[in-house]
Structures are given as C-alpha cells and as structure tokens.
Symmetry: C2
Subunit: 455 residues, 2 copies
Amino acid sequence: MASQLPTIPKGTRDFSPIEMARRNYIFDTIKKAFILYGYQQIETPAMENLSTLMGKYGEEGDKLLFKILNSGDFMKEVNTDDVSQRNLVKLTNAMCEKGLRYDLTVPFARYVVQHRNDLQFPFKRYQVQPVWRADRPQKGRYREFYQCDADVVGSDSLINEVELLSLADYVFGKFGIRVLIKLNNRKVLSGIAELIGAPEKIVDITVAIDKIDKIGIENVNEELRSKGLAETSINILQPLLLLSGSNEEKLAKLTDLLRESETGMKGIEELKYVLNHVAKLGIQSDVEVDVSLARGLNYYTGSIVEVKAKDVEIGSISGGGRYDNLTGVFGLQGVSGVGISFGADRIYDVLNALNLYPETVNSSSKILFVNFGETEAEVSLEYVMQLRKEGVSAEVYPEPSKMKKQMGYADAKGIPYVAIIGETEVAEGVITLKEMSTGEQYKLTLQELVEKVKK
Amino acid sequence: MASQLPTIPKGTRDFSPIEMARRNYIFDTIKKAFILYGYQQIETPAMENLSTLMGKYGEEGDKLLFKILNSGDFMKEVNTDDVSQRNLVKLTNAMCEKGLRYDLTVPFARYVVQHRNDLQFPFKRYQVQPVWRADRPQKGRYREFYQCDADVVGSDSLINEVELLSLADYVFGKFGIRVLIKLNNRKVLSGIAELIGAPEKIVDITVAIDKIDKIGIENVNEELRSKGLAETSINILQPLLLLSGSNEEKLAKLTDLLRESETGMKGIEELKYVLNHVAKLGIQSDVEVDVSLARGLNYYTGSIVEVKAKDVEIGSISGGGRYDNLTGVFGLQGVSGVGISFGADRIYDVLNALNLYPETVNSSSKILFVNFGETEAEVSLEYVMQLRKEGVSAEVYPEPSKMKKQMGYADAKGIPYVAIIGETEVAEGVITLKEMSTGEQYKLTLQELVEKVKK
C-alpha cells in the first residue's frame, strides 16, 4: 500500500516517552510546589462558550481563538447574505458556539463567578492544562501548549505577593535554574504617567527605558521625541531613564521623582513591602526593581513580576502580577487577585540547555527479563510481579527472540538492568543480572536483585 | 451590574479541588501501575487532522467528531452550491481541516506509523488524556472525558495478554475494588459463526446468550428465530446457550462444540493459555470465560477483555483486547497489538459509591497559620517556609481578619491543623497548635510541630 506518512496539525507536537519523562518532571515539580504553598487544583473544560472567551483578549485575540463548528446542522442559523458577503465574524457566530481555551485566566475568572457560592475566599487555586492559540507557528511558539498558573483571589494583602515571589524562588531552586526576579508596580508607572501628563505614552516610555543599555540615553531621548513626547516631559523623565544601582538606590530616586503622586508613592510603598519581606524570608534568587517591566499593562493594577533565567538567553520563564478586577467582566465586582504563571515549554528548553535533569528522569523500566522460551518466561513473569510489588518497574520481553535483539531493545530503551533466566538459573533458583552501563554480571537471589536495582 | 451567571458547554465539567484530589488519586494509581508494568507514556495533540480521524469510527463516529473551523478565511474553499444545498459534509470538509481527538487509539496508531523509525518494537505505551465526542450528554456520559490506555504493539505473544490481565488485577487491587474479569476470544466467536454458517449473525447470538439468565432458553431461541436463524443453527447453538460451570467446564464444552473449526480451536487454546498463566501468577480477581462478551467486534481479532465491579451496579470499568491491524489504515501493515483501557469516570463513581478513597486524598494544606497582624504574620511566614522544606503544605491566612473567619476558612477547607501565633507565642518562640478534629491545643516548638503534623 503506497501511502504518505500521516502528520499532525502544524504548531502541535507529539511527545515521546523521554520528552514525557522530562515534561512530567517539570509539571510534578511545579505542582508539588503549588501544593506546598497551599494552592488547590482545579480543572476547567477545554471548550468554553465563545461568549465567555470573545472580547477578553482584544480583537487580535478573538481571531486567534480556535472555534468549534456546532454539531448537527451548523448552517441552521446562517444568513445567506453573510455567506455572499463573506462576513466571517457573523458567519462564525452563526456556526460556532464554542471555542478552545486560550489561557487559564479567563476560564478561572468564569469558574470563580460560576461557583462563587461554593468557594472559600481567599481562594488559592492552581491549574495546569493546555491552551490553544491559532498563532502563526514558529520556533518556540506552538498552537497547543501548557500553562501552569497559581492565583489567589479575594485578598488584597501583599503577603500574597511575597508568597508568590517565594514560590518562584522555590520552584527554580528545585530545578537548579539561577534566576533574576524582576519586580515592578503598575502604580509606579501610573505615577510616571501622571507626572508627564501623558498616560497613553507609558508603553513607549517603558520600551525606551528598556533600551538604555543598548542604544544609550541620547538615542532613547530621540526615540521619545519621535513618539511625540514633549521636551518638558523628556526632561522630567531623565532621572527615570538613568535609574541604576541597588534596589534601595532606585527606590530612593523614584521617591524623589514621584513624591507628588499619591498613586506613585503607593506603588513605591508596595515595592518596599515586598522586597523587605522576601529578603527576610531568605529568598535565594536575585530580586531587582525594574521600572521598564510593563507586561500585562492592560490588566495588572499592582505588582508586576517577571522571572528570567540567568544562564540561558531566552525570554521570561515565569511571570505574573496583581489584577484588581478579574471577575468584573462576568458580573462579580471587587474580587482582587494576584497570580503567577510558569512557562513549561521554556523551562524545558532551559533545563535542556543547562543539562539539569536529574538522572532519575527516565521513562524506561528498571529491568528487562530476557525471554528464552515458555518455561523461563513463566518463571520470569513471577519474578517481575515480585519486583513490581517492591515498586520496581519491570518487564519480560514478550517473545523468545534472539538474545541480540532483546539486548538491543534494552539498550535502545535505556533500561539499566537485564535479568537472564536460562535453564541453569531456573534449576538453581537464581537470576543472572547484567548491569548495562558496565557490562558486569552477577548471580543473585531475587532478594539480592531487589536490593541491587532499588539502590 | 445585572448579569447572568456564566456557564460551560453542556456535557463538559469543571472539577473542584476535592474532585481533582480524587481524580488525581485515580490517575496516579493507574499511571504508577502502567509504569511498574513497563509502559512508557506518550502524549498526542488534542487536535488531529480530520484526514486522520474521519472514517475510523464509522459514519456515526464521523458525526460525533468535534470539528475546528479553519483560522483566517474559512470560506475560501467553500462552494456556493454546497451552501445553497446545505451539503453539510462538503461544507465541513471545506471549512475544517482539524478535529478534536475522539479516542486515544487512532492517534496512537497515527503516532506509531509517523514515528516508526524512532520506536523500539515491541512498543509498550500508555496515554492518559481527554477525548471529545459530540454525543448527546446524559447521566454518566460526557462530551469531554479522560481515557487511560495501555497498549503493546509489535508482538503477537500471549504473554502480553497475561500481563494486561495482571495489570487490571493490580490496578483494581490497589483501588480496593473487587472485580470480575470477563474473557472471550474473537476466534471462538468466529468458530461459532463458521459452525452455523452465518458470520453476520454473531452479534445477535452474543446478545441472545447474554439474556439467558434473564429470559430463559425458550425466549432466547424465539429471539434467534425472529432474527432469521435457521432451526438447524439454533439446534447447533443449544450447548453454547447452556454453557455454564467453571472455566474448565465451559472450555471442555466449547472444545466439543468447535472441534471442527480450526479458528475456534485456536481461540480456545488462547483462552486456556491466558487463564493458565494468570492463575499461576496468583491473580486475585475472578476471571471468567464469557462467550457473550462481544465488545469491539469490528476491530478485536483475538482476546477480548472486560472488567466489571462486583459490588456496584455499573457498566464495565475497564476493557480491551487484541487487534491485528491497528496501523494498516495508515499504511503500516502487520503490526499486531493488544491493549486495555481504564474508565476513569466510572472508577470515580465506584470509589465514591463504596467510599474507598484513602484518607490521604485531600486537596487542602496540612496547616493554616492564623494572621494576627504584621509582626505575627512575618514570624508565621518564616515558619511556613520551614514546614514546606519538610514537605508539609502550609499557608498563612493573608489578612488579619477576625479569628472566627480564619477558623471558618480552615474548617471549610478541611485543613486539619491551625497554628496560632500571637504576641505571647512570638515572645516565647513557640507555636500554639490546634487540632481541628478534636479541638485540642498544644504549645509546641517548630520541631515538635513538624513531627506532630507529619505523622
């Protein structure tokens, strides 16, 4: 039969056993940390009503939602004029009621509102599930990928921010990834916007600040001019552009700059509180105030956090912040929240680049029993059951194939031990154990074998 | 703001923290067993090309696939005549290239063919992922649900069947669910069809056999007549309809009945092999030959397995069998496989009905530190970090709310211990620990507290 190899949709991935072992190590480490910090897991459906998703991610986001064709007669509600005019938006609305989850935040907001009477607030939830985006696929950008989110809703306390930074520090400590945690506060940015009377320019300003090291202050000022900032504003911004030194020094200069702005001063106070407390907790990672940090500006209202790996050139591997009105769009006002998200795919790349996976991250059995035929296989089956009861993953090669083939199987799968049970071993009630890494062989009783492979 | 509560698509579910804890217990138990038995995990994308999925589940199955609207101009390929004629099949093909996974078997077959050069055969894989079906939702039937599959491909050996039965026995033993494992063989059914010269009647016959206990042999014979079976065929079938007794007795009668059919005798031999070997392995569950077992008749070619809970009236909670040509449809011939699938949702219902969850299945922190204000909270934050390092999940209530509210939070979440750190405790360097179940209070050092809550 002539046939093409089957394929999968672009931007999606199959995960092989070794990739799964590594991904599970990442997810398990993050989940275990979430649990230690008192977050509780929820899961939401892959499909949400489009009414829940649409309008939450901007116009561009609406286009990137994967929509699901209605079951049955999906043409029922379609207006013929919309077909002839190729009115894609109206046609989509007529033919699709559901879409795939685009992130975990909007489904979480929907969850909180829908189940608010059953929840204990503050509600600390974590969620580790795939999301889907019809982005143009490219290196490191996929149409299906996992998000690992932890959020607290229903509490304004900055203790939550302290705990989230501590959590990030804990997680990356477990991975052995050295990180820099960047911290900013939306209120500081609002203070700056107040200062120059141009709130709509705040993104341009943060982008410019971020370029100082690369292009120098003169070029940055030129860029600000080209963005339409007045000369007086640019003058006011100079101390901000030249912000440097320790966090204390930066905060002192910011205080000087923003002393007239109540909002700005509130932001500085919050930064101080968080910095002060994470220092007391003995956080290992470097924490740096960075006023150019402007992620999530359209929804973060307080703290803004971003985590970067120190030893690998890659974008942020974790980030989060505080949002004051997560659930407002679903009709529940006044629920403040703060959360953090870990980027599993980038963490995967960092761990690969730094070769940081523990040796125990392995997808194969610990031991393979070679199959020499019916009698020997029967004995082997009983041994593997004993090993499994001891918590050792074990398998019998199912066919009495040539020794070379069976050893090749163990080798290719990275199985560290091979048990050889031939006539002699059956008669003597022993097992010949071959250690694949050294080639050494031992004759052992089952009990001795268990002790050896469990080490 | 007046607004409706948001909802989720019918047939889908949110999972709350306690539900997640229980589901994780189920998935973890099954996954751990898969690993002990030497299966390796893979994952495939939620979306597959429709060309991969269509035609694999019958005409009805094609309708139950969730199709994803193409991104961008999904009307590009649409033919106006198909619109005016409401030709849903052609319109779907024109507008949708992708669909959601309907089961784990077809994506697995696709995976094996696509990656065949990278795989070691026999390939033992497990996969635990959600699948989606546009079925009419009803009690116990969802549009999104998880499958937990383990399969071996590339080996004809019956050792694989023995291992799968052993695996089912192991899993349900871990859950504490008493089960009956029903075993049949497609070749026995083919032998019966040969015997009466009516292979197309095999489903009617198995359905009839299944009803013997309920409606009696006369009514069963009447039903067979009404299905168009000749009187001679019905006569031949009488010993089969009256099959009873131990597995040995059943197999003896089957041997007598099928002695002229080579295929039928092969099926009996396979049944004997599997029964003989699982008995030797000391399987705990009852295993029963049941010739009325006819699941998956359109693809199973050898062993057929079904697992039923003994103490709860519910459908099968696990099932599987051997298929000779899983990958043929994707152009790779001659790859035999055998697999088993565990029904997580039904297992969930059985564990609930029998109240079999271990006490450790809990979604909450082990200990909550009450918040009395800034100073006490700071001390508490340091204590919770120590506890987490000891592997104890711990949290500080983020706000200095009224004691009653904080205790209510602990109570509602089922947190077993509450730590109280007031002025006295800070001064003395101790912690007052309250055991929620008894109301008892102790003054402890951190070390004593760790020992107490870790127990």
